[in-house]
Amino acid sequence: MDQFVCLRMIQMNGVDLARFQFDFDMSFGVIFMNADGTVYGRYGTRNERSENADDQISMEGLREAMKSALALHRGYPANQASLASKTGPEPKYPTAEKYPQLQKYTPVINYQNQVAKSCIHCHQIHNAERQMLREAGQPIPDDILYLYPMPDVAGIEMDPKKRATILRINDDSPAEKAGLCPGDEILFAAGQPLISVADFQWVLRHTPAGGDSIPLQVLRSGKKGEITIVLENGWKKNTDYTWRVSTWDLRRMALGGLSLVPDTSSGKTATGLEVKAAGKYGDHAVARKAGVLPGDKIKEIAGLTGPASEGSVIAHILQTTKPGDKIELTVQRGGKEIPLSFKAQ
């Protein structure tokens, strides 16, 4: 630890978004960086909102990332070119409080009497980006909805206690087709040295939803080899984003504040979804006010009549409607079919 200068950040107020880009839905994220702003890598992965949410991070994994960051620092600046893509594209706004939706905040936290209220939380940046598109009447693209996909979208399960080592490969997945194997250590992806699973997610984040190939350098049984993984059009839709805290605002926009879960009962409808919760306050109560209740089974929503997930329904609505459009749904309740509607936001 004494080989690093350790900096603790607790808010996004005033933070330079050109330099600090990471998965803003994390409640714990680490960036390793040179004093000149060059990013060595990231650490911090999460894939659900349950008590298992921390399964993807470990002290062992963090230690591996720290060791790898130190190795990159020792090799700097000779390795500078391979690190260039670890800095993201220029953001729309230089700092969070410049977003139109966040202009009530100041560049610093008010420690006197409004600490939490004056803090821009990391996830609010995702919210602001999406709200900006929504207010402009534009669809929210897959690249903005399906953020930082887990490696499982490519059929890879990483070992959270290692740097970037494959634990399992799913059958008939892009990873299996590419020839990747359990135990393979991914040294480079898209030309970038990986120090963690989060670094691989960074590469996936910047791989277009329309599909692309990712060249990998892999260490297998002590030998380095090159493997290319191919991701087809629409590949990002295979990741679940509904655990993310920023999904709360998407539920407001698309579902009038509903939270949908798979219906596990024997009498499930065609979509296979039921209403877990309906918001009670403000803009999150729109669906409840329209008559939708927790426990309702969704037979049809926004023209979707087949098997669906909450994430696919939200994506469909946010990619095919504008705020104010009518969202029609039919619910089953007590053996009856009830047509209802509310307005998208």
Partner: protein, 70 residues
């Protein structure tokens, strides 16, 4: 590394209770976290410019931790 683990976990992940054992408000937790970190020789609190300066002078990389106080 063990010391680091203990320090990191205790400083960054815990501390939701006051000295009397009563739950702290979110504001109280953030302020307590700040006070803890400002006393800690190993950490710089919320000051990127200072961290950059120190990293440049000492030739060390920065480890920048974003941690939300829940």
């Amino acid at each position: 590394m063990k010391a680091f683990a203990i320090a990191t976990v205790s400083v960054l992940l815990l501390s939701g209770l006051s000295a009397t054992g009563a739950p702290k408000s979110r504001d109280q937790q953030v302020i307590a976290d700040r006070d803890d970190l400002e006393k800690n020789q190993d950490w710089i609190y919320n000051d990127l410019k200072l961290a950059e300066l120190e990293a440049g002078e000492k030739g060390k990389p920065m480890m920048i931790v974003f941690r939300c106080i829940p």
